[in-house]
């Protein structure tokens, strides 16, 4: 074993930066997250999505300044009026200004979508982490619970809860959506954790004495951030659709709160559907654009976090 002699391989010398060069001036080192962000920025569709979404967010934030009328104030003298200089998009069945309702409606859609997503994320991450990390009996229990939830038809379940509850608030609405849509995310996080559990760095962390809590939060969740972000984003789009769908059938946020779903529900009236497209098309377009933008962002994030899926 001559080639292993210490004299011949004195290479335990530290690797030093070249002479006269400040080590800290080296090119900044990039974390995997920063690398993903750099890939994301190259994705044109995702940037389009960001632009659309940011515009909608700005509209909802500054709705107070942009709106021409109080969105909940009805005027019984102006029912189902067509567009005029006073009411750009006309008025609805109770004489409320459609344009102002459109602006305020973006608020509800975004708030419901975002908070339901956060809530679902909390339930899904907690249950998915526990199931994936510990495995065994607790995993079987949580997974059977998700099977059960997924076997229940969401729409019917939501409708049942809503028809039992006397008064529907936004918070309650968000809770219902979150309580019925966590199983998918739970499964995804569990799956990611199961594969992370087999990786040696988990043993490495365990070997230096890291607690379960630390391994989950410092090692597993940062490594699962890709799938979590992507799915959370796509889920938000889904939730906006849910909200609109329920509002459309009159089971969502009750009138007179302006939501896009509520505005769309006017189109159930054949007269409005035919004669006043300006009353419901903008709301539909709002939902369409928001969901499309979020899906573009989600796809962009997926490609950014998984460089192997180079479809472009």
């Amino acid at each position: 074993m001559q080639q292993l002699n210490a004299q011949e391989t004195p290479s335990v010398e530290p690797i030093r930066p070249p002479e006269g060069q400040e080590p800290s001036k080296n090119k900044a080192s990039k974390s995997p997250f920063q690398l993903a962000f750099a890939r994301f920025r190259k994705n044109k569709l995702a940037i389009v999505g960001i632009v659309i979404l940011v515009s909608i967010v700005l509209i909802s934030v500054f709705a107070d300044l942009l709106a021409t009328h109080d969105p909940t104030k009805s005027n019984l003298l102006l029912i189902e009026n067509g567009p005029s200089s006073e009411h750009i998009l006309g008025t609805d069945g109770s004489g409320r200004d459609n344009f102002s309702r459109l602006l305020y409606g973006s608020r509800i859609s975004l708030i419901v979508g975002f908070s339901a997503m956060i809530f679902t994320l909390m339930i899904g991450t907690t249950l998915g982490s526990i199931a994936g990390y510990y495995g065994g009996k607790i995993d079987s229990f949580i997974m059977r619970l998700t099977d059960l939830m997924q076997a229940l038809p969401f729409f019917v379940l939501a409708l049942t809860i809503i028809s039992i509850v006397p008064e529907i608030t936004i918070a309650l609405f968000v809770t219902i959506i979150a309580l019925t849509s966590w199983p998918n995310l739970t499964r995804i996080i569990r799956g990611t954790f199961l594969s992370l559990r087999e990786q040696e760095f988990m043993l490495g962390a365990k070997a230096i004495g890291a607690s379960d809590f630390r391994i989950i939060f410092k090692h597993f969740i940062p490594n699962a951030i890709g799938p979590i972000t992507v799915n959370a984003t796509l889920m938000m789009a889904q939730m906006i659709i849910f909200e609109s769908g329920l509002s459309f059938v009159g089971m969502g946020i009750p009138q007179p709160t302006p939501t896009w779903g509520n505005m769309l529900s006017q189109a159930q009236n054949i007269r409005i559907l035919r004669n006043h497209p300006e009353a419901w098309i903008p709301a539909g377009l709002g939902i369409f654009l928001t969901v499309l933008a979020i899906n573009f962002i989600g796809d962009g994030l997926r490609d950014a976090f998984d460089p192997k899926s180079n479809r472009r």
């Binding site: 074993m1 080639q3 292993l4 210490a6 391989t9 290479s11 335990v12 010398e13 530290p14 690797i15 030093r16 930066p17 080590p23 800290s24 080296n26 080192s29 990039k30 974390s31 995997p32 997250f33 990786q199 040696e200 760095f201 043993l203 490495g204 962390a205 365990k206 070997a207 230096i208 004495g209 890291a210 607690s211 630390r214 410092k218 090692h219 940062p222 490594n223």
Partner: protein, 338 residues
């Protein structure tokens, strides 16, 4: 003789195989089946054997990375298997591990500084204010520059990553380091660097190594003693020279004859022992001597009686093998069938 640092007694690691509708345990993989040995302070003990013989599992069971099925692991006079989970976490300060795959064994989302800081933090090795200095020292010790501390693992080569793994193991000032195929994934020139680094560190920090490997050349170079495993059991144990110069067990002989000779002069040409068949399944290991299905010397006795590790009078003390016919084979009165 030096103090016994690690005593392993009758260690067993069975992995259940679940099957059937209700996920009942239908059988076990007997990965480690009654292994006993001691490691003395300051020495390097190597565990060798072919893939699947249970050498890595033994290392993991000692560290309780997998909870062993039964047996005793005594470290520095303390029974590790009796410790609570919390106490074991503290105890891990003294027992460290270097993993095989430098690409998989460190978290890709932490910088080197975060990796080392985490270890220092968990085990509270030095006060918070001195951590930066300690990290710089550690990096210099393993041959990385302190200026590289804020880089991510993907910015390093395999050899450098393995040094990060070594730095993490060293950071908590351990007494025993289990090197689980620590150099197998590296190419030969890098292997030499890392091994020399490990030997240097052993002298500096008076470390004890349990070196799990399958490269016999490396093993001969670094070990004081060698343990040969086959199918979850120790077949031969002894000091490195005795094992390499005077192997007793037919399996050890076969294993050693597989070392490539760099200079194949005729007089150095050893007899090549080629084993027949594959390693039997550890789910249902052969009865008697586990090696009898492939052993050229096997008789009916080998199929029934389990051989014990023992020393013969011509063997060095502490050199033990587990073959019924080791004496006869040595004397030439029991010959191979093929």
């Amino acid at each position: 003789m030096a103090k016994e640092l690690l005593k392993v007694k009758d260690l067993k690691q069975y992995f259940p195989i679940k099957g059937g509708m209700l996920g009942r345990t239908v059988n076990h993989v007997k990965a480690v089946d009654g292994v006993s040995f001691n490691v003395y302070e300051g020495e390097t003990v190597s565990v060798v054997g072919e893939s699947g013989c249970g050498k890595s599992t033994t290392g993991r069971a000692i560290l309780r990375l997998d909870e062993p099925t039964s047996g005793e692991v005594e470290f520095d006079g303390e029974d590790l298997l009796a410790l609570s989970k919390k106490k074991m976490r503290k105890k891990r300060k003294d027992l460290q591990v270097i993993f095989q795959d430098p690409y998989a064994s460190i978290n890709p989302r932490q910088t080197v500084r975060q990796i080392l800081e985490e270890a220092l933090d968990i085990q509270n090795v030095v006060p918070k204010a001195e951590r930066g200095k300690k990290i710089a020292e550690l990096m210099e010790t393993v041959g990385l520059g302190a200026h590289q501390a804020d880089r991510f693992p993907h910015e390093f080569s395999g050899g450098q990553r393995q040094r990060i793994g070594i730095a993490r193991a060293l950071s908590v000032d351990p007494k025993l380091i289990i090197a689980d195929e620590a150099v197998s994934a590296l190419d030969v020139s890098i292997q030499a660097q890392v091994i020399n680094l490990m030997k240097k560190l052993q002298r500096e920090f008076s470390l004890t190594y349990l070196f799990i490997a399958h490269d016999l050349g490396v093993v001969r170079h670094i070990s004081d003693r060698v343990i040969v495993m086959y199918l979850g059991k120790i077949v031969e144990i002894g000091d490195t020279n005795s094992i390499f110069d005077n192997p007793q067990h037919p399996y050890t002989k076969a294993l050693l004859s597989a070392i490539p000779v760099p200079d194949p002069e005729p007089e150095h040409k050893k007899e090549r022992v080629i084993l027949q068949g594959d390693v039997p399944s550890p789910i249902d290991p052969p009865t008697g001597c586990r090696f009898h299905t492939r052993c050229p010397f096997a008789t009916d006795k080998c199929k029934v009686d389990v051989p014990e590790l023992r020393s013969e009078d011509y063997m060095k003390e502490e050199h033990m093998a587990a073959c019924h016919y080791q004496k006869e084979i040595e004397a030439g009165t029991h010959t191979a069938k093929y």
